[in-house]
């Protein structure tokens, strides 16, 4: 199994779930729509990548034990305030753009083609994130949220891509101490709760149920 692609798919699935938590309770109706639409896209990307990796995308998405997930701690966090939700969206999109750009050059034409397709859709997520970043940039809440989440964002990418991320986010690389527990490979406690919720229907349905 391609760990890089599995990490991408798991990130997109989990951030899609987290984004969808704003449906109905975002600070304004436009953002209920935006977060719902972004969530739908991210989960669509996850499905497409799972389909590249396995015959049955649902089985790969939902039937693994928790420690087999490759999502980064950044996407697992349950963030209940708007400044943190926007800070994560922005940091995630900046990091994701670097990763997707690399995959667009992949030797496997199927991977490169799918990455190019995902990239076109992500362009709208980036615009949304950038628009909000500009709007909140001078608020103490947003600055604090970026400060909190920055080590998690760095921990989402392999070490060789972190310099590029730091340059784009106008930050300096976090120390090893700050990165502790925030890098891909480890998981937060919040993932377990999310996973229970995410797999609830799957686990309650009899095997082979048709929808």
């Amino acid at each position: 199994m391609n760990e890089l692609l599995l990490g991408l798919a798991d990130d997109e699935l989990v951030i899609g779930w987290r984004d969808s938590e704003w449906t109905g309770i975002a600070p304004m109706l436009e953002e209920d729509v935006a977060f719902s639409s972004i969530a739908q896209n991210e989960i669509g990307h996850a499905r497409a990548v799972y389909e590249l990796l396995a015959e049955d995308a649902d089985a790969l998405a939902f039937d693994r034990p928790l420690d087999a997930y490759r999502c980064a701690p950044l996407v697992e966090l349950r963030l209940l305030d708007w400044a943190h939700a926007i800070a994560r969206r922005w940091l995630y999109e900046v990091a994701d753009e670097i990763r997707i750009a690399a995959l667009m050059e992949d030797d496997d034409a199927r991977v490169a083609g799918l990455a190019a397709k995902i990239n076109r859709e992500e362009a709208y997520h980036r615009m949304h994130a950038e628009m909000w970043r500009e709007r909140l940039a001078d608020t103490p809440q947003f600055r604090a949220a970026v400060e909190d989440l920055w080590p998690y964002a760095a921990g989402m990418l392999p070490a060789k891509q972190r310099e590029a991320l730091a340059a784009r986010a106008h930050r300096s690389l976090p120390s090893d101490k700050l990165l502790l527990g925030k890098e891909r490979g480890g998981h937060t406690e919040q993932l377990a709760e999310l996973w229970d919720e995410m797999t609830m229907v799957r686990h309650s349905a009899p095997a082979g149920a048709q929808w």
Binding site: E30, V33, A34, S36, S37, I38, Q40, N41, E42, I43, G44, H45, R47, A48, E51, L52, A109, R110, G113, L114, A116, K117, I118, N119, R120, E121, A123, Y124, R126, M127, H128, E130, M131
Partner: protein, 161 residues
């Protein structure tokens, strides 16, 4: 024996599940049709990957082929070959007539916020160019929301991808 033309004609009758004024042929999502010994191989390119209508579209293509008495083989091609530039001129006109502003042509590089804010986007109702972006996102992944300051009508704009 079924012909390629018959298959294309039949596909032209399949409405888009979410915007039924246009057909799957108008949308340009059918990349190729090959017929051999009663087997019809179709290459289908999704619009947005998260579009919930994808499965419905795929099934509709299979049913049309089966309805012609042939064996369908619909391949979903998940690459970058579909863009909103593939929507046919007839499809664009049908969208406009139904109140959906057709997508702007794709430019080099990814679309930007500046383009959405500054480029000319016409109101599908009154044709005015005095329109502004209300929300990048809309009721489905493929649409944005705009507002026309001339006729004071909100409208949906097909995203360029």
């Amino acid at each position: 024996m079924v012909t390629v033309e018959q298959v294309w004609d039949a596909f032209g009758e399949i409405p888009d599940p979410e915007i039924p004024v246009v057909s799957l042929v108008d949308l340009g999502v059918i990349r190729s049709v090959d017929v051999e010994n009663g087997h019809v191989r179709v290459e289908f390119t999704p619009t947005f990957l998260g579009c919930p209508a994808l499965e419905v579209m795929k099934r509709a293509l299979e049913e049309k082929v089966a309805g012609l008495g042939a064996e369908p083989n619909v391949q979903v091609i998940q690459d970058d070959s579909w863009s909103t530039d593939k929507i046919t001129p007839a499809g664009r006109e049908k969208l406009r007539a139904a109140g959906f502003a057709p997508p702007a042509p794709r430019e080099a590089g990814a679309p930007t916020l500046v383009q959405l804010r500054v480029n000319v986007h016409r109101c599908p109702y009154c044709n005015s160019t005095a329109t502004k972006l209300e929300n990048i996102f809309g009721p489905t992944p493929c649409r944005s929301l705009r507002y026309c300051e001339s006729c004071r009508q909100p409208f949906e704009q097909f995203k360029t991808i």
